[in-house]
C-alpha cells in the first residue's frame, strides 16, 4: 500500500500533498484537547501495524489499521496517519518523503469516509454495530487499494489490471482487518465506552 519513491509523476505527488495538507488542517481543527492522547495512541498503533506481517499471498502483506483509526478518530485520523507515515518513511524506509502526501491520502481518505459511512450502523446496539465495525475495517482497506491503483494509472499501469491485483491481494487483509476492527471496537465499547464519544456527536 505504500507507494515507493520515484514511481509517481510530480503532478500526482503535488496533488496528493495538497490534499494531505487540507485533510490535516481539518483534522487538527476538529481535534480538541481531550482527543489528543487518543490520537497519539492510535497514531502509534498505526505506526507499528505495518510491521505486523500477514503471511499470505506471494509478497506477504501487512496490517494497515486505517479503518480502525477512522472509526475511532474521524477527521483526526488524518494527522495521526500523517505522523505515523513520516516516521515509517524515516525509520523503516516505507514509502518515502516525496510520496508522503499521496500515501497519506491513500490511507487517510478511506478512514474518514468509513467514519461517516458506518457511523449510523455503529451507533446501533448489538449486531448492526458489529457488522458495521467489521465492514469499516474491511472496506477501508479496499478503498485504499483502489486509491493506490488510481494513483498508479498515471504511471502507465492499466487501472483495471492494477485494481484487480490490488483487490485479489488485499482480500485476506480485508478479512483480518475487519475482524481486528470488530474485536477492538467491541473491547473498547465494553471497557472504555467514552473513547467512542466521537461517534455520537
Amino acid at each position: 500500500m505504500h507507494i515507493s519513491e520515484g514511481v509517481l509523476s510530480p503532478a500526482v505527488l503535488a496533488g496528493g500533498a495538497g490534499l494531505a495538507v487540507l485533510g490535516t488542517a481539518i483534522g487538527l481543527k476538529k481535534m480538541d484537547y481531550e482527543a489528543i492522547p487518543r490520537v497519539a495512541i492510535l497514531s502509534a498503533a498505526f505506526f507499528v501495524a505495518s510491521l505486523i506481517r500477514v503471511p499470505v499471498g506471494p509478497v506477504g502483506l501487512h496490517l494497515v489499521l486505517n479503518g480502525l483509526l477512522g472509526l475511532l478518530l474521524g477527521w483526526a485520523a488524518v494527522p495521526a496517519i500523517l505522523i505515523a507515515l513520516v516516521l515509517q518513511a524515516l525509520l523503516f524506509q516505507f514509502g518515502g518523503l516525496t510520496v508522503l502526501g499521496v500515501n497519506t491520502v491513500i490511507m487517510a481518505a478511506p478512514a474518514v469516509f468509513c467514519f461517516y459511512a458506518y457511523r449510523p450502523l455503529l451507533r446501533r446496539p448489538g449486531k448492526p454495530a458489529a457488522v458495521g465495525a467489521f465492514a469499516c475495517g474491511a472496506s477501508a482497506i479496499l478503498l485504499s487499494g483502489l486509491l493506490a491503483a488510481g494513483a498508479l494509472i498515471t504511471t502507465g499501469e492499466a487501472f483495471l489490471q492494477v485494481a484487480e491485483l490490488a483487490l485479489a491481494a488485499h482480500i485476506p487483509v480485508m478479512i483480518i482487518e475487519g475482524i481486528i476492527t470488530l474485536f477492538i471496537f467491541r473491547f473498547i465499547k465494553k471497557v472504555r465506552p467514552e473513547m467512542l464519544e466521537g461517534m455520537y456527536e
Binding site: H2, I3, S4, E5, G6, V7, L8, D32, Y33, I36, P37, V39, A40, S43, A44, F47, V48, L51, I52, R53, V54, P55, P58, V59, G60, L61, H62, L63, I83, A84, L87, Q88, L91, F92, Q93, F94, A148, A149, A151, L152, E157, V162, L165, A166, A169, I180, F183, R186, F187, K190
Partner: protein, 231 residues
Amino acid sequence: MNKFQVRRVRFTHPKWLAKKPRIWNYQVLGFFLFLALGLFDSPALAHRVLVFAHATGDTIHTESKFVPDSPVRQGRVQVSDQKTGQVLVSGKTDEKGKFSFKIPSDAAAQKMDLKIVVAAGQGHQGEWLLKAAAYLPEAKAAPGATPPPSSPAASASIPAAPGAKTAAVDTHLLETTVNQALERQLAPINKQLAELAVRRTSLTDIIGGFGYILGFFGIWAYFQSKRKKDS
C-alpha cells in the same frame, strides 16, 4: 465475596458460563499474543524491493526480491544511464526474480554508470547503481572490444620469449580466466554485501518511533493547554 459466590454458581451451570462475557479477556489476550507473534516473527520489511546486479563476462545479471526473501516475478526492469537517464535496456524478471542482459556497447564505450530500476507493480520499486568500474574490466576482455592498454605492456615486460605474440595471448587469456574465476568466487560475497547494505528495521527504530509520536502529541497538547488557559 460476591465474586466468590458467582464463581461457584458458574461451575455448577456450564450453560450459564458460556453466556458470561468473561471469556473476552482470553480473547483479547490471545489477540494481542497473535499480534506480538506477527511482530517478532518476521524481519519486518515486507514490500521493499531489493535489487542486486553483477557482471560476468559481457553479461550483467540482476536479481530482485522483496525483502526478506521472495523473488519479484514479472517485474519490469529498466536499465538507464545514471547521468542522462537514457534508457538502454528494458525487460522483465523471470520466476526467480532474475534478469540478464548483454552489456550495451554504448555503455561500455562511454563508461556509463548504470541505474537499474525494477518496478514490481503496485507502486513497489527498487534500484541498484552499477558503477562503470564494476563491470567494465570484463567488457574490455570481451572479444571484439579494443585491446586493453595494459596487455601490450604486459607482453613487453616478458623478457625475450621465443614467440612474443603467444605470450601476449597467454596473458590476455590468463587475465580473462582469473577475472572469471574471481567473479564466480566473489558473486556470493557481493550479494551478501548488498543484503547487508539494506537497513533492517530494529527494535530501536520501533521504540524511537513511539517516542517521536508521544513527543509530538505532547508538544501539541502543551500548546493546546496553554491556549485553553489563556482564553
